[in-house]
Amino acid sequence: MLVHRWIRLCTVCKRLISNNRGGIGWRTSTGHDSLQYVTEVLRGNTASRRYCHGDVGDLYKNESVQRYLRQLMEEYGDLTKKLQLACLSDLERKDMNQKLVKLLPVADVFQSITNALKDLEEVLSLLHSTVGTRDEDEQMTQLLKEEETQISQRIVALKEDLIKALLPSDPLDSSNILLEVVSGRTTGGDICQQFTREMFDMYQGFASYKNWDFEVFNYTHAEYGGLHHAAVRIAGEKVYRHLKHEGGTHRVQRIPEVGLSSRMQRIHTGTMTVIVLPQPVELDVSIDPKDLRIDTFRSKGPGGQSVNTTDSAVRVVHLPTGTTVECQQSRSQLQNRDTAMGMLRARLYQSMMGKETEQRHTARKQQVGTRSQSERIRTYNFSQDRVTDHRTGYVTRDIKEFMRGGEALDDLISSVLEHGEREALLELVEQQQPETP
């Protein structure tokens, strides 16, 4: 079946190559790229389908998206024409070339869709002209009908890819991260701390499921066996992409079986907070030593040979921003300092990036509900065996399985990601500006 489609594709693409469509000088390379691109599309399709047909159709038909697309294609055509002119400076030429290259993936797919639609038209007209006449050839009709289905399906796939190509990509997606879990406060009982520990275990499970590195920096027990707060570094492929939407307040509802709260046999509510910070390999955060205040046990008292201590905790305060980082993971004070500095860098980077992204927020996004830290993003209802994500409305059962951090969590994360990307695209097209990448 796959091979069959491939062959069909080849015939279409060959026509693409031999026809004089598109700009001069781009023809062959376009065709070639298109072929590769479409091959990848096919391979991608046999793997997981990210968008269901309805969604893609919706997005594609969306007026703003269409308008945005037209704008992009106009720009593409414009650039192609201008580049053919001889009277351009090197700098202008280079600049335009860069822009063109960025538009190329979108243009390719758009081209493919246009061509596919034309093919479909041809097939359909052939079909209609032969049906019901004396010349009707049963076999021919059958083949034509098959080809019609093939092309239609291909068009759907291409539309998916067009959407993908239009999406603004997050440059931080492939980063490693610093993940923190912090227990909420309760007026009594330990439901928050227990929940925080379970969340920690869940993410540990997820890291293992995804084959990521899970390095604990800080693990502060609460009394009675819960977890007060912890910090880990998770490294691997596309960690930030998967976990970036986990940041926020998670709420738990259960009738506690153990611990102080269990006496009441009522449904208790608690919260905990997850913080996700990207740790890009190249951190260009420069920290002036003068801006730091470092506190250690030695800071009080004379220090030096006159004191022996096993307290090697280090606290680093970045004075200009007030960011504070603590580490007591190692018995060596120096190692704790190094770790704390690493965490500080990550935090400073995050707040640097955070300010930028905040500036790009639009009213629409706020309407849809990018939750601030204090709004809960997900509720884990143990008594009703249900997890609900409040951004997408996604509901899943078997909470015990979910808390193992395996496929169930992965599926939820995928749905949130899709939702996020969809929102991002709509926001983008509504701004009416083709993004200068």
Partner: protein, 293 residues
């Protein structure tokens, strides 16, 4: 853990929570309590382990430093064995090593002796922390460690063997004051002299905590009336030991740097005072000097 913490508190043992945590973690085979997972912590201890715990904690009750109780501690990226009365490395000394490493790397890049081998001499090696740390980080370095205490020499040798660094380290039982002639006759082209010498003022010795007074070697702490007895000796010998442009790195008391600078200018012609560096608490802690005409 809570039980022993209370016992420590009641007996006036310093840092009761850290003490109980590190002892129990060690017993369970880990370095820190945090690195143990939930299950291990809630396991019941076997009879043997419970007995061991009792022994260790009792020792701590006598104000024995935790490092001696569990017999080991971490220094930078190394784990070293600890044994009374050999001096327990302090966190400041970790920074001394960092300083030396950074400097050596710089000198290697820019110096004439870039290709030549560096030899480092440590006075007062104690458990071997400084020398072994340097050897671990610089694969081409060779080191010589001296101490006037046989216990220290033995412990340094043990640690060197554990870490597999014994091939590049020579250890000698020598007193730089009493055996000055021996030292000078043995070495003369050292590129780096490093030391965390005893630098406490005599009057400060009396106000030390029981942990230090009762268990650590006083000779590793007492620097005489002004804390400079051993330091002066080291600086006097330095020009004879060092090759030209060789450097001296010392950890000292915060009151020392200006005193040392003046003294060197007056008494040691061939030694230049380069700079004073501060420790993590921003106290003047390290002196760098260089041999030069």
């Amino acid at each position: 853990m809570a039980l022993w913490k209370r016992h420590f508190e009641e007996s006036g043992v310093t840092e009761p929570d850290h003490s109980s945590q590190y002892i129990i973690a060690h017993l369970l085979g880990a370095k820190t309590i945090e690195s143990l997972n939930q299950e291990k912590l809630t396991e019941f201890l076997s009879h043997d382990k419970a007995q061991q715990l009792w022994d260790l904690c009792t020792r701590r009750l006598s104000r024995m430093p935790v490092q001696y109780v569990i017999g080991e501690w971490d220094f930078r990226d190394l784990t070293l064995k600890m044994r009374p009365p050999v001096f327990i490395p302090r966190p400041e000394t970790e920074e001394l090593v960092e300083l030396v490493l950074a400097d050596l790397q710089l000198r290697q890049e820019t110096g004439v002796r870039a290709e030549a081998q560096h030899i480092c001499l440590e006075v007062g090696c104690g458990s071997g922390a400084i020398s072994l740390s340097l050897l671990k980080s610089l694969p081409r370095l060779r080191a010589i460690a001296l101490d006037q205490s046989q216990d220290a020499v033995d412990l340094t040798r043990e640690n060197a063997l554990s870490l597999g660094l014994q091939d590049r380290l020579q250890i000698h039982h020598i007193d730089v004051i009493k055996g000055a002639d021996t030292v000078v006759s043995l070495y003369d082209s050292i590129s780096t002299l490093v030391s965390n010498p005893p630098y406490l003022f005599l009057e400060d010795m009396t106000s030390l905590e029981p942990e230090i007074l009762r268990f650590e070697d006083h000779a590793a702490l007492d620097g005489g009336k002004d804390g400079l007895t051993v330091i002066r000796q080291i600086l006097t010998l330095a020009p004879k030991l060092l090759s030209n442009h060789g450097r001296v790195y010392l950890e000292v008391d915060p009151r020392h740097p200006p005193v040392i600078q003046q003294w060197v200018e007056e008494h040691v012609e061939e030694l230049l005072y380069v700079e004073t560096r501060h420790d993590i608490t921003d106290r003047p802690r390290f002196c760098i000097l260089q041999k030069g005409k």
